[in-house]
């Protein structure tokens, strides 16, 4: 059985489309997104005069006309993971003053994209025999889980155990430890431990389970991120960015105590790699979603030989 695992695609249309192509490209039987499927940016495209639009995207002022150029701009924004929306100067001015309205807009656009992604997946992969597992994680609103739950194709392993076949299971945990950004599913380490333990209590054999824990284990080599100052700015020394471990102790304890087949993680985009934590292989495919690059791990599992291959790929 071949598994393709990726994470943190953060709303990128391009990455989602690539993800749906992975069964063919990597000959994978099971494909998994380990959380953080939704984006972080809204790009207002303001109609400055009839049929003429303007926005600031990726640091540049972009001016387009209605029709194909506008659609091209919207596609470009969607490929980067952001949500473009066409608006009027008045509505844009209103959004600038009303954070509640922006929050509602975020939720609407995020769910619209998730629904569209589900539709794309079902069109492309239904009937192929490929298993598609997608879960929300700390950056995703809870409504995303509800949307995923409505799909007939996609399985959501978040907070659950999903049999993979050949005697292996996969458990998922999208909650993460506290971050400086106060994300929807940030919880204290103790609560994270409790949640992981609750799911693992339903597992038959931890040694035959893959643990998809969104946040990598603390001090595992997969959790190095730039140290941030009080303004959320990376600390730079004369030797470059100062990198520090920011993973979860709850995740670390879970991996070392349950000793699963493998730990699958995401969350820290900069810390791509496959490592070993007390004899347990752990992987973080990293993320370069805004560049439309899909980082992943190809995993080969065999009933007889167990884990036979873990290869980091960048597609």
């Amino acid at each position: 059985m071949r598994i393709y695992f990726c994470s943190d695609i953060h709303g990128s249309d391009k990455c989602w489309k690539k993800f749906l192509s992975t069964p063919k490209f990597y000959e994978a039987d099971v494909i998994i997104v380990g959380g953080d499927v939704t984006g972080k940016f809204l790009v207002p495209i303001v109609e400055t005069r009839r049929g003429k639009y303007s926005c600031r995207f990726n640091g540049l002022e972009r001016k387009v006309s209605a029709g194909a150029p506008l659609q091209h701009l919207l596609d470009m924004i969607a490929d980067s993971g952001a949500y473009g929306y066409v608006t009027t100067p008045d509505e844009y001015a209103h959004h600038q003053q009303d954070s509640e309205a922006v929050d509602q807009l975020f939720r609407r656009l995020i769910l619209e994209r998730v629904d569209r992604w589900i539709e794309l997946a079902e069109t492309k992969l239904r009937g192929t025999g490929v298993r598609v597992l997608v879960s929300g994680a700390n950056d995703d609103y809870f409504e995303v889980d509800e949307a995923l739950g409505r799909s007939e194709l996609i399985e959501d392993p978040n907070g659950a155990v999903v049999p993979l076949g050949e005697g292996y299971d996969l458990m998922g945990m999208g909650y993460g430890n506290i971050t400086p950004w106060a994300c929807p599913r940030d919880v204290p380490e103790e609560e994270l431990t409790r949640r992981i333990d609750e799911v693992m209590a339903t597992v038959d054999d931890p040694g035959k389970t893959l643990m998809s824990l969104h946040v990598p284990p603390f001090e595992s080599g997969l959790d190095y991120a730039p140290e941030l100052d009080d303004e959320l700015r990376a600390v730079v020394t004369a030797n470059g960015l100062k990198m520090i471990p920011v993973g979860s102790t709850a995740t670390r304890d879970a991996i070392t105590s349950y000793r699963p087949v493998m730990g699958l993680h995401g969350h820290i985009h900069e810390s791509r790699g496959v490592h070993d934590l007390n004899g347990v292989p752990i992987a973080n495919p990293g993320s370069e979603y805004s560049e439309g690059i899909l980082g992943g791990v190809v995993i080969d599992l065999d009933r007889r030989h167990g884990l036979t291959n873990t290869t980091l790929v960048r597609g």
Binding site: A238, L312, V313
Partner: protein, 536 residues
């Protein structure tokens, strides 16, 4: 358009865009941080041997040479900064050369750069001995009449003295990087403040010497004997050394390779990244400011050196045989600065910036090398142990050991043989810089969609700006490479340097090929690891 973030007021955003509470949103690194890092890489202390090389270019204006190197450095920095905006993740030029050119090209060019970075990791320590410690102790010895100090100064130019500097830098920074001590960062920051203070004192000393408040000629005669200053000029004239040439632009252009060797390396901040992609202007500003400010400082120092000591004296003394020079020391400008100051305290203070900058630049080379090795390993083009991180220290132990061994070999070769010279590695370093320029040229055509959606989609008419800048920068780097190859004065075209320049690239290409075959035998197609997934 302006905007602000919602939900969490402190969440970083960019103009015209709304953000929400989600992890990983960090602000750009500060412009001054990038600039500060660039200053470290530029290592202004190199000016000691850059001025010493002036003698080889009759008619050259050092200041014009610096201006030319600065202008070319800005173009190169634009290429690096623009590409780092498109590919902002940490990893630097290896990442974007792999994406834009080819994974094999990325590895070959990155390996070449690292190979030569390690060359300088070791040799910078030897530079510390030769251009920092030796002149300082010699000056102190001369000023105090203490022969032991003069002897220590001489020892630092001996093979063991040079190697000791190399071993010190490699040893200290390998241990520091392994231990990851936080105290080190504080020490380094304080050392930088001391360096800045020391540099300002040097500037003041030179201004006083240029304006006659301090008399270099008088002070030189005091320590070297009555009439020694004029003696140097006469001795040079008697030896047929001409110190008066009319200005030559072509010689200034050839000389520019020397300051380029220092100024161009501000681009190494390229490995900093961030997710708020508002053009990442801090990279653009920081790199260029580092080049411009240090270029300005270099230009100012050169001007003041000439004014304080006399152009004729600098040229004459650097071309005299050792036995004709009246002091038991090498005729470097920091020796003269110490003598101009006229007292031992000023000599020490004036030496600190040279010592600090030459000491710390070696550390950056080691850090950059181990980070790149980590990236190769993760991409499957290097053994897994390259990315093995110590469970206790969280540092890439084996990569570090390998880097230290390679750097030590280079330090040994530099110290005990004549096979390696100061700019010996610059030829090899020009190759990856040229690779980045080529990547800049072709980027809008090979990655059209990425270019269109990027923050650097500027055009001059219909031609992408990055392509135009890339072409001009490539011409500058290509010219520098050509001069290094044909002009023996740089010391970069000796057999070892040329062979190793070609050898490093050939070795990397072979490495990629072997790894590809080895992975294929294990059932992993390396091509598929990098190949973009087609969207169907």
């Amino acid at each position: 358009m302006t905007s602000r973030s919602v939900s969490q007021p402190q969440i970083p955003t960019q103009p015209g865009v709304f953000t929400r509470a989600s992890s990983g949103l960090v602000r750009q690194v500060r412009t001054q941080d990038v600039m500060f890092y660039g200053w470290q890489q530029i290592a202004l202390g190199y000016i000691i041997f850059i001025v010493a090389a002036w003698q080889f270019y009759p008619g050259a204006s050092m200041e014009v040479g610096v201006l030319l190197a600065t202008a070319a450095g800005i173009l190169i920095a634009i290429c690096y900064a623009f590409l780092s905006v498109v590919y902002p993740r940490s990893g630097g030029d290896y990442v974007f050369m792999s994406r834009i050119l080819h994974p094999a090209a990325g590895l070959v060019l990155s390996m070449s750069l690292i190979f030569w970075q390690l060359f300088y990791a070791g040799i910078n320590g030897a530079f510390l001995s030769k251009f920092g410690l030796a002149p300082m102790f010699s000056t102190l010895g001369i000023q105090t009449g203490n022969h032991s100090l003069t002897a220590i100064g001489s020892w630092f130019t001996s093979p063991w003295g040079l190697f000791s500097g190399g071993a010190l830098v490699i040893g200290v920074f390998s241990i520091v990087q392994y231990l990851g001590v936080g105290l080190y960062f504080k020490a380094q920051r304080w050392a930088s403040y001391v360096a800045i203070g020391s540099l300002l004192v040097t500037v003041v000393t030179l201004i006083l010497a240029s304006t006659g408040v301090l008399s270099f000629q008088h002070n030189f005669d005091v320590v070297a004997g009555h009439g020694a200053y004029q003696g140097v000029l006469h001795a040079a004239a008697s030896a047929g050394v001409s110190t008066h040439h009319s200005f030559s632009f072509s010689q200034s252009l050839y000389f520019a390779a020397w300051p380029a060797f220092s100024l161009w390396f501000a681009v190494l901040s390229v490995s900093f990244g961030g997710e708020v992609k508002d053009g990442q202007r801090s990279q653009f500003r920081g790199m260029n400011l580092a080049i411009i400010t240090m270029g300005g400082f270099m230009l100012l120092l050169m001007f003041l050196y000439r004014m304080a000591f006399g152009s004729g004296f600098i040229l004459a003394s650097s071309q005299l045989p050792t036995n004709k020079f009246p002091l038991n020391a090498a005729p470097y400008v920091n020796l003269y600065t110490g003598i101009a100051g006229g007292n031992v305290v000023l000599t020490v203070v004036n030496s600190l910036w040279v010592l600090a900058l030459l000491f710390f630049v070696g550390a950056s080379s080691l850090v950059a090398s181990t980070r790149n090795m980590l990236a190769w390993s993760l991409d499957g083009v290097a053994p897994k142990w390259f990315s093995a991180v110590s469970a206790r220290r969280h540092t890439p132990t084996w990569s570090l050991v390998l880097c230290a061994v390679i750097a030590t070999i280079w330090a040994l070769l530099y110290s005990f043989t004549d096979t390696v010279l100061v700019l010996g590695g610059f030829l090899g370093q020009c190759v990856p810089i040229l690779g980045v320029c080529v990547a800049a040229i072709v980027f809008p055509f090979r990655r059209r969609e990425d270019f269109e959606s990027s923050p650097i989609a500027y055009r001059i008419g219909r031609v992408p700006l990055i392509t135009v800048v890339g072409v001009v920068a490539a011409i500058c780097v290509g010219f520098c490479f050509y001069r290094l190859l044909v002009d023996t004065n740089y010391g970069a075209n000796n057999t070892l340097s040329v062979v190793m320049t070609l050898g490093a690239a050939a070795f990397a290409a072979l490495w990629f090929l072997v790894y590809r075959l080895w992975n294929k035998a294990r059932g992993t197609d390396l091509n598929a690891q990098f190949k973009e997934i087609p969207i169907e």
